[in-house]
């Protein structure tokens, strides 16, 4: 490190600028490539104009992937927000062993995706899976089916595992915010005759809303682009029934070797997400105004 500093003659900006510029160039590169046919081996560019975008619009596989991505993001965000708030409230209720429980509940968030995929594939395997056995014992299922190999259940199973891993993120954020909630606010509401639900609806929820919205914005971006967990759990199968947009992007780029088309798809999702982000920002401003 000292060598780097001395080599740049005390110019602290140099390493910083180099990495920053590289990052921006990558993003611009995607937009550029989306207007070309890019040869996979020679990387020769042939200008196509908007042809790649037209092909995306007409491709049934891409449309299917979009539909699954919408289900994937919506399912994840609704469950994670609801479960995250519920668990955070529970961990803030003053129960004994609360500090230990807080630490234990956060563990799944740091578990590598490949490990999460491995243990859930093991838990749900169709010969000796513990999860299948438990479901069967509870009377929720009559056979030991592997939910990742069944087109009817695979998306729900993926959402469930993803929620296991990422609900803790919402819990961390909401819990931090809950700890700054002034006690007087709750007491005042209770004096005014608000029941437990009333206190939650009119005091606690507005208080945590700004933090929750920011957390959901970040999670929406990362969930929409998440490649690892869906791919490692089901590989996009069976028969592409769990191929979401990120999996389709990599398939177009490396299996079909169509770099221009893959870039165009990436650009489309980026545009959609910016639109989605605006929605969250608007909700955030409204909730900020509400809490003053």
């Amino acid at each position: 490190m000292v060598a780097v500093i001395e080599a740049t003659n005390g110019n602290w900006r140099a390493p910083f600028i180099i990495f920053g510029v590289i990052g921006v160039l990558f993003a611009v590169g995607s937009v550029f490539d989306s207007f070309f046919h890019v040869d996979f081996l020679t990387r020769e560019h042939t200008f196509l104009g908007l042809d790649n975008y037209r092909r995306l619009w007409e491709d049934p596989a891409v449309r299917g992937a979009f539909g699954r991505s919408v289900l994937w993001v919506a399912g994840n965000m609704v469950i994670q927000a609801a479960a995250g708030v519920a668990v955070a409230l529970l961990l803030n209720a003053g129960l004994r062993g609360q500090t230990l429980a807080r630490g234990l509940v956060l563990f799944p968030y740091v578990v590598p995706a490949v490990v999460a995929a491995m243990v859930f594939r093991f838990a749900f395997n169709d010969t000796s899976g513990m999860a299948g056995y438990l479901l069967r014992t509870l009377g929720l299922s009559d056979t030991l089916v592997n939910p990742f190999a069944d087109p009817a259940t695979v998306m729900f199973a993926l959402v469930a595992v993803n929620c296991w891993k990422y609900v803790p993120f919402i819990v961390i954020v909401v819990l931090a915010r809950l700890q700054t909630l002034p006690g007087e606010l709750r007491e005042a509401a209770a004096l005014d005759g608000a029941g437990r639900f009333g206190v939650f609806r009119y005091v606690t929820l507005p208080w945590i809303a700004p933090a929750l919205i920011v957390a959901m914005l970040m999670r929406t971006i990362w969930t929409a682009y998440d490649f690892d967990l869906p791919y490692l759990l089901s590989g996009g199968g069976p028969m592409d029934t769990s191929t979401t947009v990120p999996l389709e992007i990599r398939k177009l780029a490396f299996a079909d070797q169509d770099l221009g088309l893959a870039s165009a798809l990436a650009v489309c999702v980026a545009i959609l997400l910016v639109a989605g982000a605006r929605m969250y920002v608007r909700a955030y401003r409204a909730s900020e105004d509400a809490t003053g």
Partner: protein
């Protein structure tokens, strides 16, 4: 809620809350416990039906088999190298850059700083295609150095912003005093600023190490040769061959991958609580 918790009979609502808390902790951690228990179980117990949870006999056979019949050792070495070098670079470069951002007034510096935060929000799959083209052009395909560069570039903005807020909390007086006493700017940085920032540096390092250790997308796309695979793509390769590798062997591998991550996480949680607020100015 300012009531004494001891010596008071539990209300039914309280009982329900405790039950819910237990359920939440179980859902979060049972899969992790199951990795541990399966990894130390003999095969007969793993494939028995109905499945059993606690191991009856303890064995290390799964670990022995893992290293004997698979290339797990190679994956482990590769991941250790990549994660360690990336972490050093991220913390080293991030510390200098964050310090510059906090202490120097250079035109355009803040702007670049904010731009880099935007770069952190750019999801990896978006830049996968251009990055892989660039890697191929530089002849770095199947070279672990490519992963080090990519991880450093993607994790640096996070390090920058964590450390920036950390340096913001430090007083300028100590540095000024050191420089009056004859230290160079760099000397003051190393002798005064860094020692006060140890908790922040450790938290950043742990985050960077975990991210590099767990990364899958770039590693699986750019490294094709079997002896260049890191843990995530290596494990996914083993996982797809359940006819070759028993679940016990796979869980042993999963345990080795997840254990350091969890240990580091626990250390950082403790360290951060104890470390913050122990400034040098009393």
């Amino acid at each position: 809620m300012k009531t004494l918790r001891h010596g008071r009979p539990l209300r039914p609502g309280r009982v329900l809350q405790y039950a819910a808390l237990a359920a939440v902790v179980l859902i979060a951690d049972l899969p992790l416990l199951w990795i541990l228990f399966t990894a130390v179980k003999p095969d007969e117990e793993i494939i028995s039906y109905p499945p059993t949870f606690l191991p009856h006999t303890l064995t290390l056979d799964n670990f022995r088999t893992l290293f004997e019949i698979s290339s797990f050792g190679t994956y482990l070495t590769n991941s250790l190298i990549v994660a360690a070098v990336s972490t050093l670079l991220v913390v080293g470069l991030g510390t200098c850059a964050a310090y510059a951002l906090v202490r120097f007034r250079i035109p355009g510096l803040r702007w670049i700083g904010e731009l880099s935060l935007f770069a952190y929000l750019v999801p990896p799959i978006l830049v996968l295609v251009p990055v892989s083209q660039l890697v191929a052009r530089f002849g770095l395909a199947n070279n672990l150095a490519a992963l080090v560069v990519i991880y450093t570039a993607t994790l640096l903005p996070f390090a920058l912003w964590t450390l920036r807020s950390y340096f913001h909390g430090l007083t300028v007086e100590l540095e000024d005093a050191a420089m009056v006493d004859g230290c160079t700017r760099f000397g003051a940085f190393v002798r005064v600023v860094l020692p006060q920032s140890v908790p922040g540096l450790i938290a950043t390092a742990v985050f960077a190490f975990n991210a590099a250790w767990s990364e899958y997308l770039f590693a699986s796309t750019l490294m094709a040769e079997p002896d260049k695979l890191t843990l995530s793509p290596g494990l996914s390769l083993l996982m797809d061959q359940t006819s070759v590798y028993s679940w016990g062997v796979l869980m042993a591998a999963a345990l080795i991958v997840v254990a350091p991550v969890l240990v580091l996480f626990v250390i950082v949680q403790k360290f951060l609580v104890g470390g913050i607020g122990q400034g040098a100015v009393k």
